[in-house]
Amino acid sequence: MSQWLTLFQKELLEMWRNFKWIWVPITFILLGVQEPLSSHFMPQIINSLGGLPDGAVIKIPPPSAQEVLIKGLSQYTSIGVLIIVLTTMGLLSGERKSGVAAMILVKPVSYESYVTSKWVGAMLLMWGSFLIGYLATWYYTGILFKWVPISDFFASYFYYGLWLTLALTVTISLSAMFLTSGMAGFLSLAIVILMNVVTSSLSNWMEWSPAQITTYANKLLLTGKIPDSLFPSSLLALVCTIIFLLVGIFVFKRKELASS
């Protein structure tokens, strides 16, 4: 356990030294907050750009606070996932490629600890940044629109987090398999996009797909009721996460650290 903590502390320190603890949360704040701001100030923005021609009538119904939050969340599942993949894809492949993994693992360090310490470190960064960013979004939505109940905020935060966790774990797992981080990143994005596409095009058969969590969480926000399939698909997301993590550890153990 103390060895795991040592590895984990090193991860936290590294993320601090390379400023991940600063730029990832800030990016997440900007990503989310832009939604309530741009929705609220849309008329002013249009005016400052020269306004509409005389006589043109466009009626845009003001969005509800929930809709603004959902728009913000959609930023996290697109650009947010991209950022998560970019910050995670090199964690294992980079260290193995540079050779520093061999320096560490020639010491009596357990491979499981080595991989999971990185996984937990990346999770902490993701959940933390997402919390800060989404909280800011919720706050601005509250000021500019209406206050969404904090319990709904936390529920949607949690379920979206599960989906992001799966994306992150896929990336870690692929990072264990490939020496080039670019390859790991590309394939992770491909898998996430594929899951989304398959789920939305075959939605009748994909009721329990992990990719549906976000849809269900949106429903939860809008109606305040828990959709039937939310729990099964969340459970499936958790199971997938664990499988990807185990596969990642397994592959990492089997790979030779030094190749020639």
Partner: protein
């Protein structure tokens, strides 16, 4: 008593056999050099011993351990090109690997400071490793290999990357460490091996072609040699020298002729008499013994 025993060790990469069955054991407290030309399989062998690479066949048994035990805690390993976390300072890295090796925070810190002192980079302890020079990284590499007082210290080309001063210092350091721990190091610099090692393993094309202590090897390959340098072109004299009864073979090395002879006494008389009669312009005439280099050339040339 042997600390580690290797039997029938083989390694293939994509069907190509790189290590073709090694058998040897390392004796406790001895310093052994793994010698061989580039591509002989030195690094691959060390990587298999350190557990970084799996062997295709064969066994590696560490004294006092059962099959399946983690032998990494007994081993300190320095790869040929050590890599660190560039954002850490030297002392941070040593404390980190120390704690990973099971030392308490306090002990790891003391040990790190001590080792930085020993390898001579204590002044740079707070500097980021990214700013270290190649020689400093090599020293840090040796320090990290020693952090948990391993029973077997394995070093892959520890001095090849260093300047003459650094080389000298590291060799002196190894000389000191020899008393505390068993050392196995690979090198292609034969002088270094000759200087500090008790045991020599010659690796060539993935096979152990020769092994033994320095004295044993000298005895086995004993052959007397006379080196001669002439003022003018040495090729002029080769034929006459070859005709002498005591001369076995001649090789030239730059301007120098190496004459391998049967009986040193008779050969010396014969060659000197010949050069007197023919009035040869000798610049250097030296009777020399076998160096490791000669053994190396002979063994590898086989």
């Amino acid at each position: 008593m042997s600390l580690i025993e290797i039997k029938g060790l083989k390694k293939s990469f994509q069907g190509r056999e790189v290590i073709k069955g090694l058998n040897f054991s390392l004796e406790k407290g001895k310093c052994t050099a793994l010698i061989g030309p580039n591509g002989a399989g030195k690094t691959t062998t060390l990587r298999m011993l350190s557990g970084l690479m799996n062997s295709t066949e064969g066994t590696i048994v560490f004294e006092g351990t059962k099959k399946g035990d983690d032998i990494r805690k007994f081993i300190g390993y320095l790869p040929q090109f050590p890599v660190f976390y560039d954002w850490m300072s030297g002392i941070e890295f040593l404390e980190y690997v120390g704690k990973l090796s099971g030392l308490s925070k306090k002990v790891a810190c003391e040990r790190a400071l001590h080792l930085l002192q020993v390898v001579g980079i204590i002044d740079a302890k707070k500097k980021r490793i990214g700013k270290y020079s190649g020689g400093m990284k090599q020293r840090l590499g040796i320090a990290q290999a020693l952090i948990h007082r391993p029973q077997l210290l394995m070093l892959d080309e520890p001095v090849s990357a260093l300047d003459p001063f650094g080389r000298r210092e590291i060799l002196e350091l190894l000389e000191k460490l020899k008393k505390e721990t068993t050392i196995l190091f690979s090198t292609h610099i034969l002088n270094d091996a000759e200087e500090i090692c008790n045991q020599i393993l010659f690796l060539h094309n993935g096979q152990l072609v020769e092994s033994g202590s320095m004295e044993e090897l000298r005895e086995r390959y004993q052959q007397s040699r006379i080196d001669i340098i002439f003022q003018n072109n040495e090729e002029n004299y080769k034929d006459v020298l070859k005709g002498l009864t005591e001369v076995e073979s001649i090789t030239s090395e730059g301007k120098q002729l190496r004459i391998y002879v049967n009986d040193i006494e008779l050969a010396r008389r014969e060659i000197l008499r010949e050069s007197m009669e023919r009035n040869w312009p000798l610049v250097k005439f030296e009777v020399s013994g076998m160096t490791l280099e000669d053994v190396f050339m002979k063994v590898v040339g086989k």
